[in-house]
């Protein structure tokens, strides 16, 4: 009989209760690893909310693909319940922020759009740090003691 089982028996006082499963850590514990895709999904849920409420029938994603690339994607059903999608890729390069859309349309953003993009990035970092990774965005310190 293991020490753990003996302790459990002493505490419970029931030798027939051989199961000590109740002492085991739950599987859904904080130590669980997540895949990159799962983390991107969690981040995107935060990112999608940065631009306001998502209308019914719409699905939106906004996330950081890599340090130079941000993705905005939206799907919606029109009146005929036909699915329409729109994906925009923002690429940050030495010249600025290049907005790439379907149909080989691309242009560098500027003015208000550039500022809003910058604020969205900052808000994304801020909220993802807190809500997904439980970290203080200013210091990088863990918010979980």
């Amino acid at each position: 009989m293991s020490i753990l089982k003996k302790v459990a028996t002493l505490l419970i006082g029931d030798d027939n209760s051989s199961s000590v499963n109740w002492l085991k850590m739950p599987k859904k514990r904080a130590l669980k690893k997540l895949t990159e895709r799962e983390l991107l999904t969690l981040e995107s849920e935060v990112g999608a909310k940065l631009f306001g409420p998502i209308p019914k029938g719409h699905r939106r994603e906004f996330f950081c693909l890599d340090e130079h690339t941000w993705i905005w994607h939206e799907e919606r059903l029109d009146e005929k319940r036909k699915l329409t999608t729109s994906t925009v890729r923002y690429e940050i390069n030495e010249h600025g922020v290049l907005k790439v859309q379907e149909g080989a349309r691309y242009a560098y953003i500027d003015g208000e759009e550039l500022q809003n993009f910058g604020i969205a990035i900052r808000m994304y970092y801020e909220q993802v740090a807190r809500e997904v990774y439980s970290r203080d965005p200013a210091t990088g310190e863990s918010l979980v003691q």
Binding site: K33, G52, D66, V97, E113, E126, S134, P137, A138
Partner: protein, 118 residues
């Protein structure tokens, strides 16, 4: 059509709390004001009782919250961090890259199991 859809994503309804409701100029102006007032308060209270300083922080936080709206307080904290010379420029692409790198680091740490906090 796609162009219109994309452009409109930044035009948030008035009832929305997201930071993009405010014009960037007003947003940054308010943050600069709050930062300046916070620095002046901190300077005045260097020799004050610690309890008073804590109260000052609460008041500063409340003032920022009232200025910017609840959902933007967190952003104000990071745009105006403890070191006032470090600021985020919403038009500086280098800052965009830096934010992305920080996100990637947090993601990698979590993915690889080094970050057990979240």
């Amino acid at each position: 059509m796609a162009e219109q859809q994309h452009t409109s994503m930044y035009h948030v309804p008035a009832s929305q709390e997201a930071v993009v409701v405010r014009s960037p100029e007003a947003f940054l102006s308010d943050i600069d004001l709050a930062r300046k007032q916070a620095l002046e308060s901190a300077s005045d209270m260097r020799s004050a009782d610690p309890m008073d300083i804590d109260q000052s922080r609460i008041e500063t936080s409340n003032r920022i919250e009232s200025l910017l709206g609840k959902s933007t307080v967190a952003a104000a904290e990071t745009i105006a961090p403890a070191s006032p010379e470090v600021s985020f420029d919403p038009t500086n692409k280098d800052h965009f890259v830096e934010a992305g790198i920080r996100v990637l680091r947090m993601r990698a740490a979590k993915r690889d199991g080094f970050d057990l906090a979240a």
